[in-house]
Subunit: 217 residues, 2 copies
DNA sequence: TCGAACATGGGTGTCAGCACCTATGGACGC
DNA sequence: GCGTCCATAGGTGCTGACACCCATGTTCGA
């Protein structure tokens, strides 16, 4: 028997983190050796601690789990990453895969499924949450075959900044005043965001920002 | 030593539920005897099971924790209710108190705090999450002294219907077509909603609807 | 060094959101 | 019966959102 897999657990809710830790530590082949409150801390922990698997929540302050996943898979390509989230959402799923995650698990699954997902991730097998494999994987493969696996252009830092302010309810003029640019430029960025994300208006931008944890409802 | 307090735990995420259950069952004076996936099931469980304390998440499908709390405190006024949520939000806090909850705890607290909150709720002492007592309680008492503890007019069924559709991103005309009324009437209801809830525009209505669990992000 | 990507900003036009105003008809309680 | 609340609906007017058009300066990698 080999040593248990060393896990980093990142979730901004201490209660959830502690509960999941109890579940995982109960397994002989899994052990949680680090915890993180947010994405930035998760990256820092992964740099300083020897871990095999990172379990990342999506909605976290400072840096979302998806952002952390992108950074971690760039810094340490051999690290296994599991996204653990409450959002049963196709767009997230694709973003998670693009960010280098090998698994996507909902918080609504049973604990046995989480443990199975951890083991699959460690063996480098993809694991998608139960009930979604068929449609989601099929769509993903369809896109991949068309050479179109990563269709979405990444949004820039400035755009993310604008996105956050738009989603918080500020008008173009207000945002312009905050960032010391013209309202026109704000609208330019907003239009680019709508186009890149395939959304219709500020309202959908808001829901998107809430989904990815950029702002609180 | 008396028998442990019997607890109902309602959260739509099985993982979270299981983790919290492990935390609570570890305490000799607390025992989780029932679980629920959503607000409606929580009410059903509370009817059929003998419990002392209900721990309710806010964001749950079918019926939010706040709605369930209102119903439970009407059905069984002697039942202790604890709201456990990820939302550090003043409006929620007041709504929780109005709904009959004696405690409001964030998921970001440590497990010791959750256990303490359970014990406080069972002893019928109010428990507010650490760090917020001063401002929140003060505001609440200020309002109560002005005889203004429940300032908000309740929104009607029709308004809630409109709210949901607005928050989902439909235009007035679309909503009118869906409900077979004129766009003008939709705007009338929307204006009433804005006024009753003290909000500024559709975007804030959307965030409100997400907060109270009326729609998903 | 040349092009691509990015941030900047201007113009024009349409339309939906929202704030005011008005009114009517039904239900319900006092 | 009379007032109150609710749902219905119309008018007017302003303004922000959004879709198109356009150009300029910087930076950075091929």
């Amino acid at each position: 028997m080999t040593a248990p897999a060393r896990i980093l657990l990142a979730d901004d809710h201490a209660l959830v983190r502690h509960g999941v830790r109890l579940i995982l530590d109960n397994e002989p082949d899994l052990t949680v050796v680090a915890e993180a409150d947010d994405g930035a801390e998760a990256v820092a922990q992964a740099r300083s601690t020897d871990i095999d698997l990172a379990i990342l929540d999506i909605a976290m302050p400072r840096q979302t789990g998806l952002q952390a996943a992108r950074e971690l898979s760039r810094l340490r390509p051999e690290l296994h990453i599991l996204i653990l989230t409450m959002y049963d959402n196709e767009q997230y799923f694709f973003e998670a895969l693009k960010a280098g995650a090998s698994g996507y698990v909902l918080k609504s699954v049973a604990d046995r499924d989480l443990v199975a997902a951890c083991r699959a991730a460690i063996r480098d097998e993809p694991f998608i949450y139960p009930g979604a494999e068929t449609t989601l994987i099929r769509k993903y493969l369809d896109r991949a075959q068309q050479g179109d696996a990563l269709p979405a252009k990444p949004i820039t830092e400035r755009e993310e900044e604008i996105l956050k302010l738009v989603a918080e309810g500020h008008t173009s003029k207000e945002i312009g005043d905050i960032l010391f640019i013209s309202a026109k430029t704000v609208e330019r960025h907003r239009a680019n965001l709508l186009q890149k994300l395939g959304l219709r208006d500020r309202l959908e931008l808001t829901r998107y920002a809430i989904r990815v944890g950029l702002i609180e409802p």
